[in-house]
Symmetry: C2
Subunit: 605 residues, 2 copies
Amino acid sequence: MNTYQIDFEPTGKSGKCKGNQSLLDCAHQVGVGIVNICGGHGRCNCCKVQILEGAVSEPTASELKIFSSQEVKKGWRLACQTYPEGDAKLLVPPESMTTMQRLQVEGFEIAVTPDSLVRSYNVCLPAPSMSDLQADVERILGGLNNKRIHCNNIDIEVLKNISHLLRSWDWKAKVFVRGSEVVAIGPQSNRQLGLAVDLGSTKIAAYLIDLESGETLAARGAMNPQFAYGDDIITRLSFVLEKRRGGKLMQKLVIDELNRLLVALCTEVDAQPDEVVEAVIVGNTAMHHLLLKLSVAQLAYAPYIPVVKAALDIKARDLGLAIAPGAYVHILPNIAGFVGADHVAMLLSTKTIWQKEDLALAIDIGTNSEVSLISNGEISTLSCASGPAFEGAEIKDGMRATSGAIERLSISNDAIDYLTIDEAKPAGICGSGILDAVAQLRLAGVVDKSGRMLSNHPRVRNNKGQREFVIVGEGEKNGLPAITITQRDVRAIQLAKGAVRSGVQVLLAAQNRSSEEIKRVIIAGAFGSYIDVSSAMTIGMLPSLPLNRFEQVGNAAGTGAKLALVSRSKVAEAQQIASEVHYTELAAVSDYAKILIEAATIDEY
Amino acid sequence: MNTYQIDFEPTGKSGKCKGNQSLLDCAHQVGVGIVNICGGHGRCNCCKVQILEGAVSEPTASELKIFSSQEVKKGWRLACQTYPEGDAKLLVPPESMTTMQRLQVEGFEIAVTPDSLVRSYNVCLPAPSMSDLQADVERILGGLNNKRIHCNNIDIEVLKNISHLLRSWDWKAKVFVRGSEVVAIGPQSNRQLGLAVDLGSTKIAAYLIDLESGETLAARGAMNPQFAYGDDIITRLSFVLEKRRGGKLMQKLVIDELNRLLVALCTEVDAQPDEVVEAVIVGNTAMHHLLLKLSVAQLAYAPYIPVVKAALDIKARDLGLAIAPGAYVHILPNIAGFVGADHVAMLLSTKTIWQKEDLALAIDIGTNSEVSLISNGEISTLSCASGPAFEGAEIKDGMRATSGAIERLSISNDAIDYLTIDEAKPAGICGSGILDAVAQLRLAGVVDKSGRMLSNHPRVRNNKGQREFVIVGEGEKNGLPAITITQRDVRAIQLAKGAVRSGVQVLLAAQNRSSEEIKRVIIAGAFGSYIDVSSAMTIGMLPSLPLNRFEQVGNAAGTGAKLALVSRSKVAEAQQIASEVHYTELAAVSDYAKILIEAATIDEY
């Protein structure tokens, strides 16, 4: 099989590709993130690339369907359907790049003394002889024992190769120990690597960590491929409940993606996946159950019971995760059916912030939003169904936070200013933009307290019986459809922000505290990191407080996963947080309807 | 798919068979042991059966090759190649039946208080509600905690089904706990079953045990299918070292056979394989390594280093054993490269016999023989290469202990009396018969002390330059070939018995004891159970002692496996035995050649 050199523009990365590998596979190998939801089957049409130079395979029937003959002539192809037939150079347009999708691998870093659950020890062992007939395993355990490390167990997968390896390394080895078990061995030159994963329902963030230094060696994001089977959790759970083997498929999709990320991360730092000797994964309770292929029937309906809340240690091979075969995956604990390990991880990583205050609020806003109120170290938590509006869904011109989305917006009289992601031509409006828009409309008096859109502004028009506010008119876009905010969009935001705020109010009421007493508001997650906090206050989604009390912490769940990976005391801390949380089920709060209606008002309070 | 009634004669057993199941599969299901070495691929021609009544599929090409047209007409078929097309009755001839092969499932029984590593507890749990949101796992662990059983771990495979099952059982369950881990759950009506296996290089003995009562519910034997790749261990190890995937194949053969035995045992007592919540397997070190797919390169050559000697607890699923998926397989410890867990199990089960004596000998005779001398509770052990002569191999008219083999023999003047297995027509001579023959020839003065065959008996003749003693002449067998004992056969037995006896002498010398001091000789294993101890003394294989000091204990290794399965204190005892044994490597004994030559003398001493 011939091997070719493939250059990926504009990233500047390049690598070798075999003739039987698709350009998509090659891109993943090289570490160029090309979007791929269907698993490389030419169905999702996400992986469009343009061949700039070089010979490749002929277009397939499915490609000829989606590209015009003009586009085909210009070299447009699906990367998953295209195989090189010589060296080639290709262009990955922004919309095909996962890195453009704000994958939120960035979190804040916390200094922690590295002390992973897995420790490594270098041993130099005597070779066996007629006068020293010790078995290989007893030889290793004896070598550890000399260092006062008492192990009594070697994983069966380690056992299978140990004899050959010890001899090939001339009886010098690095032994990786977890508890009293040897989970991996390597040559003494091996690093001690770990994988931390924040498994979101939309996005997956993965980090390759040096467990000895605690350093993040590489970080990557990818779409959660389950997305193709439902962009919200309920749709995915229904899919699993309705389809035979649905659960198996959901698990496979995620594991395959994790393995791809693993390979890409390792390639970046010139390591092998089996050098990774520990993994930590956090996700919401539904992602957790789908990852482990646990039953979801009891999770999908009231009273929303998880199979398990406790932290789990599972052999990587039992999940199909291709790290060292004897290694464990540590799964942080859940709190409840709709408050998962990702929230625990967020609370873990932000503890240094909230533990200093007598009253702090930590929220992660998404389709389901988790809200924690921490009052003198006591954590009360609930989950509220804020719906998909913040993700741009169910909004007329809503879109995800990708290239061309309006993410910031201001209105002064009839002048509109906006900012798009990548400064591309406006294609729609994403969550943070919608939030701004509603706030600005409220300030401009176009939307009243009750959420009604008035007809007092030249940009308000009637469209099929519904009022809408024109942000980008047809004329401004060379005849392309306009981008507007409709009355219905305002109602969707009202519901979403009302859900979040009502959660805050329920927790405050239970503690007999008022919102003004909150010293610190921690906002985590993809959406929360990009919103304008002032806008969120203007519409009453967040309590009205001095701006310096807010902290937008990025992917704090990912940071929490990294902390647990690097430090066993953080693992214990996470378990303590999860076990101490006081969980409130909103459905059981007696006057919740009243609180929700108040919270839906579009007004600062 | 239609289902048919199949009757198996002469066993009288019958059962249901689907049209897509071969008669071999059906036989295994019903518990009729039909020999099958090739795994049902029509290659080994072991599973010959005769269709007596009923419609079956047409003969395949491979069947037409091995059966004459006359035989085909009479209904002769390979069970693995034949599918029913209606109710049928068939005859399984003795040579096709595994049970005819003296599979040595019989051992002696020892009363032991049942106290398995796995314990079961019945729990009745409250159903979840809006006011009781505990996760399913925490609910179970809480239920156990109420009984003062503190578990902190549930196997991932148990987790996968637990939610559905608990609800279908209305929150009443039997929980199986090993250490601090839940390894299985079942309805409260479930029994607590265990599987004990003696994995011999020739034969496999398997026992289904009720762990609560300690009772053996069913026992079955089968040939070790690895046999097709070498009847001795060295050939099998060479196969693994020379063939790519050889190790994988060896493992698969054994695991598949164990799974077949498991299904057959369970069928006998109307249980499901996943009701089996623990297994114990013992075997020699090579069988142990092939079972676990461990490296054998370092085991096959001096200094014969095992990968591991310590006892192991391995998840059944990691071996592919189809018992409860969260259950463990406990593997008893090895002693050395050629003294395995089967010898430990034998020492464990015979401890009640040897521990009473100040000097006892425990031996297991086979292709490799293990010899232990126990002097005031201190065990010294070695292994000697006695070769395959006792198994009937490398003997001109030798055969395994199956139907038609001469197993007992006496010579008085020129009259010969013999006994064949099943009282069938003599087809050859098996190990115990050869032993008798050499002893009788020695007593009759036909063979001298040095092993030379004299020409002083009318039945001694010269055949192609070699002397041989005619046991069954051509005339006595209607013109079929004669059965004789040749000079070369006597030499083979001399070597084999010399190896065993030299081992005994080396151990005695090391302890400064003489053979007359031995109070008890325990003889274990298939061959040892059937030999005439007097004959073994006559040729000097065993020390000359009063007959009442000998005890033939049958499959003591199998009994040891059962004990470890039923009792955790026996597991600990086995570990203690293995760790305390003083192992002697014969190759390192300085005057071994001298001892071996003395031991090869055919004389009582």
